[in-house]
């Protein structure tokens, strides 16, 4: 059951990113790439040969595996299919955040390792953004867990009434997800312009198979966050009895993720990229949203 979930997760993740690019192109009235483009990229990367810089040390080689494994472990913690208990009782929401930090830590180090200023710039900006995401994320976790009495992820995976505080928390989480998965207002995925890229700058030196692994990890992370937001806004109500319910359930699952993807795409198209030092205010806004969520949950809204 666990292996099934992992494989399914790995398969669906790139689809989500493809979906977002398709929606963006549709909104921009352009033909754009097919929805399966991320899969083609991954396959292409796996068969291209890899170039590694001579100044890089063993960290550069090990980093992709750690980033990939941290993303996978994170996906283990999130009860996508078996929703009343986590697959493995290994950690809770806070552990999830720290596991992502582990991946980011090694990615930043690998970026610094190559000795090019792009890598340094990328890792410095990534760290800057990440360190401002953390308090906001912690506030969101606090708001959510206040309702359910514990910071366990499965706590809010079951059926639960939609309250104002969970909606506000979801909104704050949405802003944070934009920052985490390097979407437009914070960081531009598609560009190679030094001034704007953050995540891309870190990954610039990678090629071939290790780049594939890192891209896959990024997709997984994106998938997890989208699932969390979806979980907050549209709680699942269906029991997993027989085959029909499973089919209905998976349809419902994809629909929710799609809604989030559309929202992200709309945001990406309409907003321009923020100046790096405005990011602090952007995430400050998310933090304040978190506090509002907490206040609502205290007042019992």
């Amino acid at each position: 059951m666990i292996i099934l979930q992992i494989i399914l997760f790995i398969l669906i993740a790139p689809l989500l990113s493809g979906l977002i690019t398709v929606i963006k192109n549709y909104l921009r009235m352009r033909k754009g790439q097919s929805i399966l483009q991320p899969y083609y990229n991954l396959v292409k990367f796996f068969y291209k040969d890899e170039v590694i810089s001579e100044t890089a040390s063993w960290i550069f080689r090990v980093a992709p595996f750690i980033v990939f494994s941290s993303a996978l472990v994170a996906s283990m913690l999130v009860p996508v299919f078996i929703f009343n208990r986590p697959i493995l009782p290994v950690g809770d929401f806070i552990a999830l955040v720290f596991i992502f930090t582990l991946g980011r830590f090694f990615l930043a180090l690998a970026a610094l390792d190559t000795g090019s200023s792009f890598g340094g710039m990328g890792s410095s900006r990534e760290m800057f953004i990440a360190s401002f995401v953390e308090p906001a994320l912690c506030m969101v976790i606090f708001a959510i867990s206040l309702q359910f009495g514990s910071t366990d992820i499965t706590a809010f995976s079951g059926l639960h009434p939609i309250t104002v505080s969970s909606v506000v928390a979801a909104l704050a989480l949405f802003l944070l997800v934009i920052a985490e998965t390097s979407r437009i207002p914070i960081d531009n995925q598609e560009t190679h312009l030094e001034l704007t890229m953050v995540h891309e700058a870190m990954v610039l030196e990678y090629s071939g198979r290790s780049l594939a692994l890192i891209e896959l990890a990024a997709y997984l992370k994106q998938m997890i966050f989208f699932f969390l937001i979806a979980q907050l806004i549209f709680p699942i109500g269906l029991p997993l009895g027989n085959f029909v319910q499973v089919f209905l359930w998976s349809l419902w699952f994809i629909a929710r993720i799609a809604v989030i993807a559309i929202a992200v795409a709309v945001v990406e198209v309409n907003l321009a990229k923020l100046r790096l030092f405005r990011v602090a205010d952007f995430l400050g806004f998310a933090f304040v949203l978190g506090i509002i969520a907490v206040v609502c949950s205290i007042l019992g809204a």
């Binding site: 796996f46 068969y47 890899e50 170039v51 590694i52 810089s53 001579e54 100044t55 890089a56 040390s57 960290i59 595996f65 750690i66 494994s69 941290s70 996978l72 472990v73 283990m76 493995l88 009782p89 290994v90 950690g91 806070i94 552990a95 720290f98 596991i99 930090t101 980011r104 830590f105 930043a108 180090l109 610094l112 390792d113 190559t114 000795g115 090019s116 200023s117 340094g120 890792s123 410095s124 360190s131 401002f132 953390e134 308090p135 906001a136 994320l137 912690c138 506030m139 976790i141 867990s145 206040l146 009495g149 366990d152 706590a155 610039l204 030196e205 198979r209 506090i291 206040v295 205290i298």
Partner: protein, 611 residues
């Protein structure tokens, strides 16, 4: 008849034993480390005296932690600061270490003056200096004196621990001492101050008002934030580590503050739980900070400089030290499998559980403190990415870095021991928590027979919160498993070997060490974001060959030390001004001196009735 005599000399309760363990875990590797560290630079006599001083230093700390009489505690407390002063001023011919020693010893002495005052007030009520006698007397003490004694203890031990307004000596003193000494000082000596707070405030004074806990929490949060922001801006490795010790003291104190807050609300389970978090972070910090200082020491010995901007690419020349520093950096930034993550998780969990069970306003207060703690850990990750990346990765930036060679064997053994400890304390978290629950229950005086802190040897979970688990061994296993899977995928699909080639240099200019990101550059976004606090100074200058052609561009920036500039310097200047005005009292003329005598006589006679 006032008895100053010492009925009971030692008090070996679990709290003292725990601190003894902390002291010896760090001093042993540092002692091994010191053999080769001192060999090159100092004459034989000095090395011998350094070893003796080290021995006396560790012994005095052991006594401080285990003694049960205030007077003897005071004696060993001051011997500890005296010996550490000699160690800070160890290489006597550079001016900075003398100034550092001066600032250090004066601050600790002022702190001790506060502690003496607190002991005396306690002595007044208990008529004995023994801890147990004082503890019994404290129950009957009026609340007002208890508050005064608490504040005196807080200031006294705060100076030694490095709580924010009193922390200025720490970034001076720790870098100047020889590295194995600063690892003990940073790892263990400031912890004796935390021992003092726990022993005297929680154990002896007893807590029955909640504002104590809140005050400690606020101070702890500010300390950790200020500590990490300054650590981010640092270029000197050991000063960076010293500031990060200030930050970690903040985290430990938030654990202790939470415990004090919960006792006053008599949520006994939570109090024990948060004290466990505090103590756990205390021993973790002792271990990985000791490890980091030892690595910084071996980097300093290999390259001869502590300035990060001049280092780089050391991972190729010093692989062992690099691995140990990486382990230390991962532990301090609370990355999952290692011990920093466990204690940070516990502290955050303590905050959240506290918020669930607390009422109204304090929910938000605890939430915000938790968020600040998260911000601190985020900044800590950034700080140690910068530290590790700039020192060890990419190309060496100066001849110092090129001439580096791996540390000698004893140094590596010292570092290895501490590295192994970080891993052990990370994985065997459940067992450590079991023993810590004993320690904290004895400190708080709460029996924990009916409380359970852990499920089984692998996983631990707070009893109150429904099914929130954490099992670091399993996490580590999964991480390793999946990275192996990733490696298998990597090996299976790809068929050709990787090609080694130059880093991407946009195709036309040769990449040199000058292109690499420097420490100042790395911390520039943070400097801008926190400019309201750091008040950065920035000067750029273009040196022009002619109007159009710029030959070179100089960029100079530094941050102002707010506390030093706005609190300590004016205070010191005022004292000197007062003293100078007093100097005019003795201008040298004998007539004036005779005048003094006659005036005092006349005044005494006139005001005779007043006496």
């Amino acid at each position: 008849m006032l008895n100053l005599l010492i009925e009971r000399f030692f008090l070996f309760d679990p709290l003292a034993l725990f601190f003894l363990v902390v002291i010896f875990i760090i001093s042993l590797p540092s002692f091994i480390y010191s053999f080769s560290y001192l060999k090159g630079e100092y004459p034989a006599f000095k090395i011998f005296s350094a070893q003796i001083l080290l021995f006396v230093f560790v012994l005095s700390m052991a006594f401080v932690v285990s003694v049960s009489n205030c007077l003897v505690f005071l004696i060993f407390w001051e011997i500890m600061s005296l010996v550490s002063y000699f160690l800070v001023v160890f290489d006597t011919n550079n001016e900075r270490s003398i100034k550092a020693g001066l600032v250090y010893i004066v601050m600790t002495h002022i702190g001790t003056a506060f502690i003496i005052a607190a002991f005396m007030i306690l002595y007044n009520h208990a008529h004995s200096f023994d801890f147990i006698a004082i503890k019994n007397a404290c129950s009957v003490m009026p609340q007002r004196t208890k508050d005064i004694v608490f504040l005196l203890f807080l200031i006294g031990f705060g100076t030694k621990a490095g709580i924010v307004p009193l922390h200025i000596w720490l970034p001076y003193a720790h870098p100047q001492a020889p590295s194995h000494i600063s690892s003990i000082m940073s790892g263990v000596m400031i912890k004796t101050a935390i021992y003092g707070i726990i022993r005297f405030v929680i154990f002896i004074l007893g807590i029955n008002t909640s504002w104590w806990g809140i005050l400690v929490l606020i101070l702890a949060t500010i300390t950790s934030l200020v500590g990490i922001i300054y650590a981010l801006m640092e270029r000197d490795i050991k000063r960076l580590l010293a500031y990060s010790s200030v930050e970690n003291i903040g985290i430990i104190l938030s654990g202790v503050g939470l415990a004090m807050y919960f006792i006053s609300l008599n949520l006994s389970y939570l109090a024990v739980f948060s004290l466990i978090a505090g103590l756990y972070h205390l021993i973790n910090h002792a271990i990985f900070k000791g490890l980091l200082f030892l690595c910084a020491g071996s980097v300093y010995k290999a390259t001869g400089t502590r300035d990060m901007e001049k280092l780089g690419g050391l991972i190729k020349k010093m692989p062992h030290t690099a691995v140990y520093f990486l382990l230390g950096a991962m532990a301090i930034s609370a990355l999952p499998p290692l011990n920093g993550f466990v204690s940070e998780w516990l502290t955050l969990q303590a905050f959240f559980l506290g918020a669930f069970n607390a009422i109204g306003g304090s929910k938000i207060f605890l939430g915000i403190c938790a968020a600040m703690l998260a911000l601190t850990s985020g900044l800590a990750v950034a700080c140690f990415v910068k530290a590790f990346g700039i020192i060890f990765l990419a190309k060496p930036r100066s001849h110092y870095a090129e001439s580096a060679k791996e540390a000698a064997l004893p140094m590596r053994i010292g570092m290895l021991i501490l590295a192994v400890f970080t891993v052990i304390f990370g994985l065997a978290a459940a067992l450590v928590i079991k023993s810590l629950s004993g320690v904290s229950s004895s400190a708080l005086g709460i029996d924990i027979s009916n409380m359970s802190f852990f499920l089984n040897s692998l996983r631990f979970a707070p009893q109150i919160a429904k099914n929130t688990y954490l099992s670091t061994p399993l996490l580590a296993l999964l991480l390793v498993l999946f990275s192996v899977i990733g490696f298998v995928i990597y090996r299976v699909f790809g068929n050709r070997r990787a090609v080694i080639y130059k880093t991407w240099d946009c195709g036309y200019y040769k990449l040199g060490p000058r292109n690499e990101y420097t420490a100042t550059a790395f911390s520039k976004p943070f400097r801008i974001a926190f400019s309201f606090f750091l008040l950065p100074y920035r000067k750029t200058q273009k040196i022009r060959e002619s109007f159009y052609h710029i030959k070179s561009f100089t960029y100079e920036t530094h941050t102002t030390k707010v506390f030093k500039k706005y609190i300590y310097n004016p205070l010191f200047a005022f004292m000197l001004k007062l003293a100078k005005s007093m100097r005019k009292m003795q201008p040298g003329s004998i007539h004036l001196y005779l005048g003094y005598i006659f005036i005092t006589l006349v005044l005494l006679i006139i005001f005779m009735e007043r006496f």
